[in-house]
Symmetry: C2
Subunit: 381 residues, 2 copies
């Protein structure tokens, strides 16, 4: 029986820091197989991924991952707590023995904190303060009751993983991986390491190559780049032709946001202009960007609240392929390897991801689902 460690990732794009994390996950967990569940063509902050899911998963497979599975859209594009829970449920469903995650605070007792978070009351009274974002209020509660510093998004995610794992009765060992050099969102670079957001900003320059494994850089040369501004004309048009009643059917379009979006869109000159016009103290940019993305992709409450969804195989190494066979023989599988008329139907659980990917293809130019097979790594095992 092969033992697996899981990682929840976006790889937007994959860089040297991710390669290091894959090595550490394997080393610290002692696992035979490293499994990654990865966002598809849209990421948690409500943006299109810079590079498509095939390019990013191939880069990961060539640099230490044994199996990359796609998180469905209704898991991947969610607030941090839902994203974390969806990722943990996916890894647990894949029979991982451990889950590894990067963190600036590797010495915290994550298992204990996860249990404590689950024991917190579901809706603290403080959350109804509409002059602050939900995230700010959540952090205040965590800091006050758990005595944890939450000034880094990786720690917030790590606590989300721990809580979700605890809610499942801890099927996986938690493996904190100390992060090196640069934080997730710092637009800086140190040595051979740069954050993904710094990389996205420097993408058009050749400087980016210093922070990316050579094999990944080669993959990236053929990959079309997709940014929000490329999708802006479609969102702009969509908002021009939707009524407030129709817009309220969009996931998380609440508290009058539908009127703000419709009104502000009329004179907005770009996506960033729209978000600045819509922004209030109540909502973070990430939340508003996600709501804009749900609008672009016509994601309804019903679709997004159903967090069930199959995991699609994007790529594997030989040992990753063996692991896939191992788990398939063990249980009812929610893994799909190829999209066909049945699992790819509009009403199928994977239908939402397919619809969203068709919009991605408007800019990217490459079919993302039908006719695409997993990337197979053929180097010596």
């Amino acid at each position: 029986m092969l033992k697996a460690v899981g990682i929840i990732a976006e790889y937007n794009p994959f860089h040297n820091g991710h390669r290091y994390q894959l090595q550490q996950a394997r080393h610290l967990s002692g696992a035979d197989v490293v499994i990654v569940v990865m966002s598809g063509n849209y990421v948690q902050r409500g943006e299109p991924a810079l590079l498509d899911k095939w390019t990013r998963s191939a880069a990961a497979i060539e640099n230490g991952a044994d199996l990359v599975m796609e998180l469905p859209l209704n898991t991947a594009v969610q607030p941090a707590d839902r994203f974390a829970r969806g990722g943990i449920y996916a890894l647990a469903g894949l029979n991982c023995a451990a889950v590894a995650f990067g963190t600036e605070q590797p010495d915290l007792n994550y298992a204990q904190l996860g249990q404590q978070i689950n024991d917190l009351p579901a809706e603290p009274a403080a959350f109804i303060d509409y002059s602050q974002t939900y995230a700010t209020q959540l952090n205040a509660v965590y800091q006050e009751r758990l005595h944890v510093r939450l000034d880094d998004p990786n720690v917030i995610l790590a606590l989300g993983y721990a809580a979700a794992n605890a809610s499942l009765m801890n099927p996986m060992t938690l493996v904190p991986v100390p992060r090196v050099a640069v934080g997730h969102d710092e637009p800086s670079a140190v040595g051979h390491f740069a954050s993904a957001s710094a990389l996205r900003q420097m993408w058009t320059s050749d400087f980016a190559s210093a922070y990316v494994p050579t094999s990944a850089w080669q993959l990236y040369q053929d990959a079309p780049v997709v940014r929000w501004e490329d999708l802006w004309p479609y969102l702009h048009y969509r908002l021009l032709t939707m009524t407030p009643v129709q817009l309220r059917e969009i996931y998380q379009m609440t508290e009058g946001l539908e009127y703000r979006f419709i009104q502000q869109n009329r004179d907005a000159a770009s996506f960033s202009d729209l978000l600045q016009r819509v922004k209030t103290k109540r909502f973070t940019y990430s939340r508003l960007s996600r709501v804009a993305l749900y609008t672009l992709l016509a994601c309804t409450n019903q679709e997004m609240n159903n967090t069930q969804g199959p995991l699609r195989v994007l790529g594997f190494s030989p040992i990753g392929q063996r692991y896939l066979k191992q788990i398939r023989s063990q249980e009812e599988s929610t893994v799909i390897t190829n999209v066909n008329a049945k699992n790819g139907a509009d009403t199928a659980p994977y239908g939402l991801t397919i619809r969203a990917d068709r919009v991605y293809t408007l800019v990217n130019g490459h079919s993302q689902n039908f006719g695409r097979a997993p990337f197979q790594y053929r180097k010596d095992e």
Copy 2:
């Protein structure tokens, strides 16, 4: 009291034949004022107008029209019978004493034929033959029972005008204007006359100037051109992200057309490619083009079945302005001269036209409603 003759037009674009028709309408009717009710930025065949409503109405005012009013979208973009009825109701509401229309068969007794059409049974049994278009079946009934040749769309429209006028108890005298030289849809040109469709095809060449009044040609030089293919990216995106259930809320999306549109759109490379893929014996290209336009503009059954709507003043000559004052003192007015927060609200009757024009502006680049005032002709009266 000024006496008015009305014309129902599209002017897509305005040309020498239209100028001739305006002269004949004035001459044959003996009216003091020539009023035109004109389609706005979208025309009856389900297409964006080549030039915007301001450019086309200014060309008409400079070449013989005294008053140009915009037909609201829910009248202008309809099957021929509804378009004809909406136009006649609008002219009757403007107190016109006569209505003039071009026809290849000016000697028919239109008043009598109009009454006969109204006496026909509403739903002849033959209409449920799904292997033929509605238009084909309608024409067969007309030819059989009225003994009229219907090989020209102008005659079909003229009969629609006559029937609508008869249904109102004939408030207006019918004034057939013999058409000169070329038919409405013939892609040819004779002398100084060319059809509007021929003009649209030759638009990028300077040849078109020979068939257009000089003052109109000058106006056209600054006017951005809008064609269906310019709007195609938005329709393509929209169809990628709509479910059959959502699409069925679109006006005239019936008989399973929603599935054909969704399926065929996925691989369609252009608007014309889409229409060819969707086409069946049952539907004309015009019908399918209208349904595509309703989809682009998100026109619901409720919006399009409500054929009430204000007429907007697009331009006037001095005598046209006097006529406007005359009819305003006579009755409750459904005429609007400027769009403001009240009559331009999303839920106002003119809201549908404003929404549709915002999409037109995506290509045309010029605001079409707020802040636009009627064109005023200042030459000697």
